[in-house]
C-alpha cells in the first residue's frame, strides 16, 4: 500500500461510484447495487460517461485507474462499476 492510501472497501468503492453520478440521490439505502444502473443515476450518454470517469478518478486519488478500466457505460450496474475499481486501481 502506498503512502496515504486507505484500503478501498466495497462500501467505499460504491460510495465513489454513486457520488460521481449526476443523479446520486436516486440511490437510497434500500437500492440494489446489482440492479441499479448508471443510466438510472443520470449517466444517459457517453458525454456523462466521460465526466463520470473523471469524477471517479478525482475521488479515488491518490489511487489511480485507467479510464478504459472503469466500467462507465449507461448499462453498467453500480456493483459492476464498483468492482471494476477494486479490480483495476493501482
Amino acid at each position: 500500500m502506498g503512502p496515504g492510501r486507505e484500503p478501498l472497501t466495497p462500501q467505499r468503492c460504491q460510495e465513489i461510484v454513486v457520488e460521481s453520478t449526476p443523479d446520486s440521490g436516486r440511490f437510497t439505502a434500500g437500492s440494489d447495487p446489482a440492479k441499479v444502473t448508471l443510466f438510472d443515476l443520470g449517466v444517459v450518454s457517453s458525454t456523462e460517461s466521460v465526466i463520470f470517469v473523471r469524477a471517479v478518478k478525482r475521488s479515488l486519488a491518490p489511487w489511480q485507474i485507467n479510464d478504459g478500466d472503469l466500467a462507465s457505460s449507461p448499462d453498467t450496474t453500480v456493483q459492476q462499476s464498483a468492482d471494476s475499481i477494486a479490480q483495476n486501481v493501482f
Binding site: 460521481s20 485507467n66 493501482f90
Partner: protein, 433 residues
C-alpha cells in the same frame, strides 16, 4: 489438490446441476481483492435478495470454503486458512478473511487467487470456483474495446453520414448529404498533454439549399468545415452543472464549392453538461448549452452569386460569438445500450462582430447582405432504429438557417433518409487529470 483440479471438479458438477433461480441469492463469478488492505481480503459479488437464514449460515461457515494463491497461473498453489466470512448486504458482497504463515505480502493483488465454495449436503446449491488474476500493470489497460460503437442513449455521434433522395416529375433527382466526424486520440496516446486530446473534426453539408425543380443533378458542398482540434473534459459537480467539455479548434477552414469561398478559422466551443433527471424508467431528456468564439480571415469569395454580381470586397477579418444548445428526447431500450427512438435538436446562433455575407434566394432571386446580423441554424432529427444493427437508422430531418462561410439561407427544409452513425469508444479514455 491443485486449483486446476478444483476447477475441473466444480465445472463437472455445475454441468449436471439445474440452473439457479434468477431472483434468488447468487454468488457471481467476479472476485476481487481489497486494494490497500494490510493482508489479502477476498471479495465476491452477489446478486438477488438476502439468503435464507439457513443458507446464510452455510455461506458464512468457513468449513465450506477453500482458498489458495499462486505467484503465477502455473505455479504450485499455496492454501491459506479461511478465518471468517461476512455477508455485506448493502454492497452485495461476500467477504472472505484469510490468514496463515504463507500469505503473500500486502493486499495480495499481484498474485493469482482461487476460492472454492463446496456446499454441505442438503443445501440447494452447487460448488463454485472463483478466480482472481492480477492486472498486467499500471497503464496496461483492461478489456479491449473496439474503436467504434453504436450510438446509445443521448450520445452525440462521433461519425455520422446522413443521406436523402428526392425524385419527382419535372425535376432531376436531388441528393442531400450530411457528414460529421470528430475523432480524438485515446488515453494512452503519447500526443495527449495537459488533459487535452488532439484530434480531427469535420462537418460537410451538400445540397442543403437545393429545391425542386432542379435542371441538373449535382453534388455541390454548401458548407465544409474541417480542422485540427483539441478536446478535454472537466467534471464540475456543482449545482445543476455536472461537467463540461471543451473543443479547441486550432486551425481549420470553412469552404463552399458552389460559389467558391474560403475562410481560415480558429476558435473554441464549450458544452455545459447539466444534471438531468429521467422522465420515466426508459424516457429521458437532455440539454447541453454551448458557447464559444470563432475568429479568422476570409481568403477568397465569389464575384457573383447565381448570376447576380456581388461586392464582397469588405469581407476580411472574421470574429463571431457562438451560442446555442443541443438537446435530446429519447427512449432507451431495455438494456440501456442504445435508443429505440430519439428526437435530437441542435441550435446555434452566430453573432458576427464584423460584416459577413448573408445570402437569401427567394423564387430564383438572390440577395446578398453584408452585415453583422445574427445567423441562426436549427436542426431537428427524429431517428428510429428498429434493427439489431444499431449503426443504421431511419431519419427525418428538419433544418432552418444558414452556415458559414457564405451563410446561404436554408428555408424550412424537411427531408427523410438513412442515417449511418457511430460513436468513438475510446474517446471516454481521455488522459488523466
Amino acid at each position: 489438490m491443485s486449483s486446476n483440479y478444483l476447477r475441473f471438479f466444480a465445472s463437472l458438477l455445475a454441468c449436471a446441476a439445474p440452473p439457479a433461480l434468477a431472483d434468488s441469492f447468487q454468488l457471481s463469478s467476479t472476485m476481487t481483492l481489497r486494494p490497500g488492505a494490510p493482508q489479502p481480503i477476498l471479495q465476491i459479488s452477489t446478486s438477488g435478495p438476502a439468503p435464507l437464514d439457513a443458507d446464510a449460515s452455510r455461506y458464512r461457515d468457513k468449513a465450506n470454503w477453500k482458498a489458495l494463491w499462486q505467484t503465477d497461473s502455473d505455479a504450485v498453489p499455496t492454501y491459506v486458512d479461511v478465518d471468517s466470512i461476512e455477508l455485506d448486504l448493502s454492497t452485495k458482497h461476500l467477504i472472505i478473511h484469510v490468514s496463515g504463515a504463507k500469505l503473500p505480502a500486502g493486499d495480495g493483488r499481484d498474485d493469482y487467487w482461487t476460492a472454492v465454495f463446496v456446499p454441505p449436503a442438503g443445501m440447494a446449491a452447487i460448488p463454485q470456483v472463483f478466480s482472481y488474476a492480477p492486472r498486467k500493470g499500471a497503464g496496461s489497460g483492461g478489456k479491449k474495446v473496439t474503436l467504434l460503437a453504436p450510438v446509445g442513449s443521448s450520445d452525440q455521434p462521433d461519425l455520422l453520414l446522413n443521406g436523402t433522395f428526392l425524385a419527382g416529375g419535372g425535376t432531376k433527382p436531388i441528393y442531400t448529404l450530411h457528414e460529421q466526424a470528430s475523432l480524438y486520440a485515446p488515453s494512452n496516446s503519447k500526443w495527449n498533454f495537459h488533459g487535452f486530446a488532439p484530434g480531427f473534426a469535420s462537418e460537410v453539408w451538400i445540397n442543403q439549399g437545393a429545391q425542386p425543380p432542379n435542371n441538373r443533378t449535382r453534388f455541390d458542398p454548401d458548407s465544409i468545415r474541417a480542422g485540427l482540434s483539441l478536446w478535454r473534459v472537466d467534471p464540475i459537480e456543482s449545482g445543476v452543472l455536472y461537467g463540461m467539455t471543451t473543443q479547441v479548434n486550432l486551425i481549420g477552414g470553412e469552404f463552399t464549392r458552389s460559389d467558391p469561398s474560403s475562410n481560415i478559422m480558429s476558435g473554441f466551443l464549450t458544452t455545459l453538461v447539466l444534471r438531468r433527471k429521467r422522465l420515466s424508467e426508459s424516457a429521458f431528456a437532455t440539454l447541453y448549452p454551448v458557447l464559444g468564439l470563432e475568429g479568422g480571415y476570409n481568403l477568397n469569395h465569389p464575384d457573383e452569386l447565381s448570376g447576380t454580381a456581388v461586392d464582397l470586397s469588405h469581407y476580411g477579418g472574421i470574429f463571431r460569438g457562438v451560442l446555442g444548445a443541443d438537446s435530446t428526447l429519447g427512449i432507451a431500450n431495455s438494456d440501456r445500450t442504445s435508443n429505440v427512438f430519439a428526437i435530437t435538436g441542435s441550435y446555434r446562433v452566430r453573432l458576427p462582430a464584423t460584416d459577413e455575407p448573408f445570402i437569401r434566394t427567394v423564387h430564383g432571386d438572390t440577395s446578398v447582405d453584408l452585415s453583422t446580423r445574427a445567423r441562426h441554424w436549427l436542426e431537428v432529427d427524429i431517428t428510429y432504429s428498429p434493427w439489431q444493427w444499431k449503426y443504421l437508422a431511419l431519419n427525418a430531418k428538419y433544418t432552418y438557417g444558414s452556415l458559414p462561410p457564405l451563410f446561404s439561407l436554408v428555408d424550412h427544409q424537411v427531408s427523410f433518409g438513412l442515417l449511418l452513425q457511430a460513436k468513438q469508444n475510446n474517446k471516454q479514455a481521455l488522459p488523466g487529470q
